[in-house]
Amino acid sequence: MMLNLPEQLINFFDYIFFGFAIAAISSYIILAIISAFETVNYMKKNSFVNYTEILSSSISPSISIIAPAYNESLNIVENVRSLLSNHYVNYDVIIINDGSKDDTLEKLIEAYDLVKVDYLINNQVATKPLRKGVFKSTNPAFEKLIVVDKENGGKADALNLGLNISTNKYVACIDVDCLLLEDSLQKMIKPFLEATDHKVIAAGGVIRIANSCIIKDGKLLDINFPKNSIVRGQILEYLRAFLLGRMAWSKLNGLLVISGAFGLFDKKIALEVGGYDTKTVGEDMEIIVRMRRYMEEKKAKYKVAYIPDPLCWTEAPDNYKIFISQRNRWTRGTIETLKKHKKIGFNPKYNSLGILSYPYWFLFERLAPIIEVLGLFYFLLLIVTNNVVWDYAVLFLIVAYLFTVLFSIITIIAEELTYHQYTKRGMGKQLIKTAFTEPILNHPFILYAAIKGNFDYYFNKSIKWGEMTRKGMSSN
């Protein structure tokens, strides 16, 4: 029987949305399976590692921690103290005061006995000029600390100045308000030192959410599960992304992003590609894609490594306004990066980067929210035209919801079997409850932020980073 045009269209869209949903679910399942195997493998191998031996070695490679700070007066002294208390032997801390309008610099000068010094800077990447100059401490206890005061140019510009200042082989680019665990640097440097038949160009670790945790003197004392549902949802979201997503991409050597909160880079390669791109709001993803592209074009054997251990704790947005602003920026960053590097997409010349990572990000990160919203509009159209097959529509929603819940519960089990961070009584129940509520309480806002990010990218170019007000983790 021949179908008329509207019926043919309905069938066509049905298959498109159904097909996309099946493809997305299948990809998540495949990634989860690969992650599970890889995590077991990692845990087994890691049980033989003794990190203390690398700690005290004078020949361990030198690392610069680069932390841009903008209007961080509230917590800067505590944050720097935390960075200076790392157990690694061979490192320095470079704080870039990126034109703060508050008294960030003055607080640092006072707390760490800083004085202005002459410092030769190798201008390998262009940056905004210095404002008050370079400062070092007169107190030998803080000899690892370098503070640079420059004109405001944004996070990428500040990181670029850090790359110019650093004299070390490796650079750890971090958010100044992140809490790095004391053994984070030796864990991050390990893949660089272990590689013998390829070059590790960058490494990223797991970021955990510190809201409601007890932190004192730059140390994580107690892990709590926050009461705020937005933060709870993000905890689960981060666990899913890091435990079941990135581990698999690491195995496939297809990692496209290392969180801007904490990543370790081979400085030489980072400089060879020109440092961070100051024109994008997704500089953390962009530099990784550019470094990978560079290595692929050089036909060099390389890897972007991933450490599944919880190494860095950060504060997550606890209200919808900031949450939406953050996700909006992430969306714009993804669009900008994928657009800038469209040459590698679906291009076999770039191996797994071109035929696996890029297409995945394009389909399931870049296009997913758009397809989801189109699906909603399509559903509304069907309601208006009285073409909804209700039992099909309801069942489709139920399957999607149940799959999300199931996936989250698998993530919680993976967390329990590996790092088991939420040990207190009742936390298990709270995590399960969050698995059921997160698709309703968080996902609509993520979707809204992604669509707004698309809109802002095309029609509101003046928007840059957006607002991120920190309350400070130490006060918890």
């Binding site: 690398i54 070695s57 030192l193 069942l395 489709f396 040990t423």
Partner: protein, 367 residues
């Protein structure tokens, strides 16, 4: 109720295949979610209980071990010691308990020394734990083998050497690394014999670990490094260069100079880096001669080396590079010139303190 269910099943059977599929999938997901939630609850409970059980057993084993160690030499006590040995033997049949017993032995062994430490070592033999560890060396599972080697290392079982050295080219690097640590921890420099037969690369991570182990021992006689400095395994060369530097092996200077022409650029750079530390002045002339044919990284390494080794005769050569395009070379040139300056009477002098130079090419002086 039954009728209602029958009606639902009948309606489902008559529905579109996609509806049927989605319904069954939903039911499947619900069932899995329920099972996983139950599993999660049990898992969390088990993890909590496991911690308590482990703490209880640890306490018990510690008490038994102390009783064994401090028993007097009379007949009754010998009997009591035998009972403790039997107890440990029996307990170690269980995997978790064996792990805890070993951890307890090691903890105490590391805290004490002398006769008591030897007694624990002896107990390790008497309880048959050593047999269990050595038998695992034949396991097909790499992690079992690696764990056994680590245990034998911690209990300092030198007798296992011949069996362990057979595995030196094991396909798993974790096993190889455990073997290397076993050899170096127990046999110090003699343990480095594996460098003669090593086929796989020794990563920088492994090298640092081995050097740190060696660093813990004093007054060791450094072995002859000539063979290793001619190895075809580049990682062995790299490791030996580090050894030569740390243990000031000036005697191998000719071999080090020979490495300036090695095929691998990294080895060439590492050789140049060692020169300054050992004060091999002959090397300067060699490197100056073919300076311009060398890679930029080697040139940077050369100037870095010259910061320590330059003499007044080198001034003209160094000065030629003051406008060099590379930042690091310019910095080195400035440092060298700052150390060796010309007096008014046209004689050179070597300064002991350096002050900053300024040049305005591609660099900013922050002041």
């Amino acid at each position: 109720m039954v009728e209602l269910l029958q009606n639902i099943v009948e309606a489902l059977n008559n529905s579109h295949p996609i509806i049927q599929f989605c319904t069954y999938l939903s039911l499947f997901f619900i069932a899995i979610i329920i099972l996983l939630v139950i599993y999660l609850k049990n898992l969390r409970d088990r993890l909590r209980i496991k911690g308590r059980i482990e703490a209880t057993y640890k306490k018990k084993y510690e008490a038994e071990l102390i009783e064994y160690l401090y028993a007097d030499d009379d007949k009754n006590n010998n009997l009591q010691q035998q009972q403790i040995i039997t107890y440990f033997k029996k307990s170690s049949e269980n995997r978790l308990k064996r792990k805890l017993i070993i951890a307890t032995f090691l903890k105490l062994k590391n805290e004490i020394s002398g006769e008591t430490s030897d007694a624990i070592q002896n107990l390790y033999y008497q309880t048959g734990l050593i047999d269990s560890a050595t038998s695992k060396l034949k396991s097909k599972k790499w992690d079992t083998v690696a764990r056994a080697i680590r245990e034998l290392t911690l209990f300092e079982i030198k007798e296992a050497h011949d069996e362990i050295i057979q595995l030196i080219n094991h396909p798993k690097k974790e096993v190889r690394n455990e073997i290397q640590k076993y050899l170096v921890k127990l046999f110090r420099f003699d343990g480095l014999e594996f460098l003669n037969v090593l086929e796989n690369p020794l990563s920088e991570w492994d090298q640092i670990q081995l050097l740190e182990i060696l660093n813990k021992f004093n007054n060791l006689e450094v072995p002859d490094m000539n063979n290793w400095l001619q190895s075809t395994n580049n990682s062995v060369l790299s490791f030996t260069l580090k050894l030569a530097k740390i243990y000031n092996q000036y005697g191998v200077k000719d071999e080090i100079i020979a490495l300036f022409n090695h095929a691998d650029i990294q080895i060439r750079i590492e050789a140049i880096n060692v020169v300054a530390h050992l004060g091999i002045y002959e090397a300067v002339a060699v490197l100056k001669e073919d300076y311009f044919t060398r890679s930029l990284d080697e040139q940077i390494a050369f100037f870095k080396m010259m910061e320590e080794m330059a003499v007044p005769d080198d001034i003209p050569f160094v000065r030629d590079h003051i406008e060099n395009e590379n930042f690091f070379i310019r910095i080195s040139v400035m440092k060298i010139l700052n150390l060796i300056t010309v007096d008014d009477d046209n004689t050179f002098k070597i300064n002991t303190t350096a002050t900053d130079f300024t040049i305005d090419k591609d660099l900013t002086i922050a002041s």
